[in-house]
Homo-oligomer: 328 residues x 2
């Protein structure tokens, strides 16, 4: 795998599309009602590295060229992603996002729910303007699947018995499905042949799964000001992620009972989080999870090997490396 610094080069390759995306998102995040306008502009900050649009534009360039439809597709996917973050922060009672107050804190839960709804609706409206029925069907389907994954996750919160298969199903639904749809549609709208379109679909699913595993690791071991949100949220919310699933399988009865009580309970002090981090370190649980993320990334690359010319494959490798590099 190549060095991760190369991601800058990937961004440069699609600079015109990224600038068009900025303009389009700015246009979409406005409203006639002044208070809604203020909220939409604030929520604009929820867009971070814009990894999903970059991926879409790069894939489009490899498959025949990124046009206006791709700029819109990138904005649709980014808006859907941002809308889910707005709702997630309500669901997780999160207070910080990208180092600022989350929308639910700056305003309140009610308005955050409605703002997320508006962002979903704006995304779908923009999607309509692309004029591709399959894209509409795929992405509206993805929104439904994302929410199903989240409900499944909520209903299992506080349950330390969640196993790897269930965890994988949940993160495929809540995160990877949007990556898969974005990658598939980027290729499709660029006119790629069926085999390549399908390969990019599978690529997105594996890469998105890796992305979520890394995200779950960062929640446990990241630095708060780098990750830009409150950490330890998953343990506090009783959400079983891969490192915790691995950890529980390695603990003796007494320690397992201790951690299971934290997952089941409502209270979780900073000391408790420190204790979990210590045990994760001792048992190599985060390293185990990162290893699995790495194998998902390799799987994602395997679906494209042989289908892309070496130069393009190199670009995809850089991107994949960047997803893993977030572990640092």
């Amino acid at each position: 795998m190549t060095t991760a610094g190369g991601i800058e080069q990937s961004y440069r390759l699609v600079k015109p599309q990224m600038e068009a995306l900025d303009g389009l998102l700015e246009e979409l995040l406005t409203a006639d009602v002044p208070c809604v306008d203020e909220m939409l502009k604030y929520a604009g900050r929820y867009s971070g590295k814009r990894l999903r649009p970059v991926l879409i534009f790069l894939i489009a360039e490899m498959c025949g060229g990124a046009g206006e439809a791709h700029v819109r597709l990138g904005a649709v996917v980014e808006l859907i992603h941002m809308a889910t973050l707005v709702h997630d922060d309500v669901l997780d009672r999160a207070t910080t996002r990208r180092n600022h107050d989350s929308v639910n804190i700056r305003w309140n839960n009610k308005d955050a729910i409605l703002l997320g709804d508006i962002m979903f609706a704006r995304a779908i409206r923009l999607l309509v303007s692309i004029g591709n029925m399959h894209a509409l069907d795929r992405l509206t389907g993805a929104v439904s699947i994302i929410c199903e994954g989240e409900i499944q996750q909520n209903q299992l919160s506080g349950d330390p018995g969640v196993d790897f298969d269930t965890y994988r199903q949940i993160i495929e639904r809540k995160t990877a499905s949007l990556y898969a749809a974005g990658c598939e549609l980027a290729a499709l709208l660029a006119g790629a042949d069926e085999a390549l379109v399908q390969a990019f679909d599978r690529f997105g699913m594996s890469l998105g799964t890796a992305f979520q595993i890394i995200d779950d690791c960062l929640d446990l071991t990241g630095e708060e000001d780098v990750v830009g949100k409150s950490l330890g949220t998953d343990v506090r919310n009783g959400k079983m992620t891969l490192p915790l699933i691995h950890l529980l399988s390695r603990l003796d009865d007494q320690e397992r009972a201790e951690i299971e009580a934290l997952i089941r309970g409502d209270d979780c002090s900073p000391d408790d989080i420190a204790r979990v981090r210590e045990l994760l370190q001792v048992h190599g649980s985060v390293a185990h999870a990162l290893g699995l993320a790495r194998s998902y990334v390799e799987q994602s690359l395997a679906t494209l090997r042989g289908l892309l010319p070496p130069r393009d494959f190199g670009v995809v490798e850089e991107l994949a490396a960047f997803v893993l590099e977030r572990e640092l």
Copy 2:
């Protein structure tokens, strides 16, 4: 205006479409994830008299015939309506809907938010299958406008200074916009000419406005088991509706201060609600609101007079009468 009993006749006119709608909604309210499936089936109860679909089917019949596209349109509009009810009950902390626990009570706020999202996404996906770009644009636009109206309403909650113009803007956005879109599209998809399509759009806007005014009156003066939800919710949530706006304009300084304190405050006892009901009665505020609802209904009929043959106009009159009859 004709007698209200005639609504039964209207339902009979579109019986095949109503049966097809039942089947389609049942099909849409299912999911692979068992807990989501259970929630969707439960939320199916949120569909009541199905006034919006009936309206759509009747208009379609007047404009050239109701086909499969109209059954889907009816299901889309009903699903969007149901999704907003699911989210509204979270926002309003409502406990009862159609005489059963609301979704947020039977499960919890988190899952209710996500269930609403899924229902929105299902609605849009079905809308895609109609294959009409204007319908997609109009209804996704309507979802955005509905949420903007709700945010505007939330941000003004607890503010007794809300005037009639602001109230009208809010209810046009949160309620009437969906009626207008449904009526316009019913005519459009049946092949009506532009003048008639526009007339049905305006008809829907006026009728929807009347509908919401009546709804706001019912919250203050209805019978709990007839309306099927907790009453007095608007006062408790500091939501200024038309009867309250009228009432405040009629009270002396001391009484006004008393009611304004209720609107501003967090606490509102059953005695407080009884006091508000008493004052509303004394000052004829509900009668005033119903009078205005009646004039909106007349306005809705005026947009169609001369454009429809007498028999069809009679059907529309029955429907309009039914909307007003809810006051009883």
